[in-house]
């Protein structure tokens, strides 16, 4: 594969992309886990959906961009790009899928590998997903060296009462809250101001 192959600039963009796949697969709840273990030199990203899953024969060719069940075009790139990104950094991509139950995609990277793309703006990824997919719930957890942050839109929806997660003003404030929480995680500060 040539090195000027298409690349996503941020891992958060890969996450956005793979999550959209899960939604297309008919899931109504998506779990996103990011685990940064700087001491162990490992970064792990897990994306799980409760969609319709994939049949076994599809799984064999999961990284082949020319095998796709989509109908809009004949090439499927999302997982192939993520697999390439992981393998470039001495990592792996694993996909587990059960028809009728859902699919789990897990990518690992060597954290300090020179080719590892930055995680990027996870707050924008999460809130873009929330606003663009009003009927879908998201559970997001992000761990950095044992400290973690989590968000569950099912809980948020019950707490927010009359306010809606499709309100852009809510989304704006939510984005800022997540951003400062993640910044606090990365710098090791416990408290954050929403």
């Amino acid at each position: 594969m040539t090195q000027n192959f298409v690349q996503m600039r941020e891992l958060s963009l890969h996450i956005l992309d793979v999550v959209e796949n899960g939604i297309t697969a008919g899931g109504n709840c998506i779990w996103i886990e990011v685990e940064e273990s700087r001491k162990k030199d490992q970064l792990k990203i897990v994306i799980r959906d409760n969609g319709r899953g994939m049949p076994t024969e599809k799984m064999k060719n999961i990284n082949d961009p020319f095998i796709t069940s989509r109908t809009t075009r004949r090439v499927g790139l999302g997982l192939s790009l993520l697999a390439a990104a992981a393998e470039r950094c001495d990592g792996t991509l694993r996909v587990d899928s059960q028809p009728g139950k859902g699919t789990e995609v897990a990518a690992t990277f060597r954290y300090h590998h020179i080719d590892r793309a930055p995680i990027g703006d996870m707050a924008a990824t999460v809130t873009t997903l929330i606003i663009g997919n009003p009927g879908i719930d998201f559970v997001y957890s992000h761990r950095v060296d044992g400290k973690d942050f989590s968000l569950d839109t099912r809980e948020i929806r019950t707490e927010m009462e009359d306010l809606s997660l499709s309100d852009p003003v809510v989304i704006h404030h939510l984005t800022e809250s997540i951003r400062s929480a993640l910044k606090a995680l990365a710098t090791g500060v416990d408290n954050f101001e929403p």
Binding site: G76, T128, L129, F149, L151, H173
Partner: protein
């Protein structure tokens, strides 16, 4: 464990309540940001973020935003489709955050189609 707590949500709610009135009623304008692999790689998330900011500033209750997949025209991504009651859907191509702001202010709010950025009428 850091978590988005009830207090945080209350703070968001207070801030939000000051800035908006209750949003109900039917949507008369639909904005679709196409977010397939191709769109995301070309910058669709930045387009969506800019759109969110403009939406928050405009405080209009009749505009709905949705994300959708690839339309099959990957080379013209990021694509954005605007559907209003008064005209046929317009697909914009090669969008970025500035173009999105312009399209929102002129087309969505004022009804002036920005044909320089348009790919097609549907």
């Amino acid at each position: 464990m850091a978590k988005l707590t009830i207090d945080d949500l209350k703070k968001i709610k207070e801030k939000t309540a000051k800035e908006t009135s209750l949003r109900d009623g039917p949507a008369s304008i639909k904005i679709t940001v196409h977010m397939g692999t191709c769109g995301i790689a070309a910058g669709a998330r930045d387009v969506m973020s800019a759109l969110m900011e403009e939406m928050a500033a405009a405080d209009r209750q009749d505009i709905r935003v949705v994300a959708s997949g690839c339309m099959g025209m990957c080379s013209s991504e990021p694509n954005v489709t605007i559907e209003t009651e008064s005209s046929e859907p317009i697909v914009y191509q090669l969008m970025d955050s500035n173009k999105m702001r312009q399209v929102f202010k002129r087309h969505v709010l004022l009804g002036e189609v920005q044909s320089d950025f348009a790919l097609a009428k549907m």
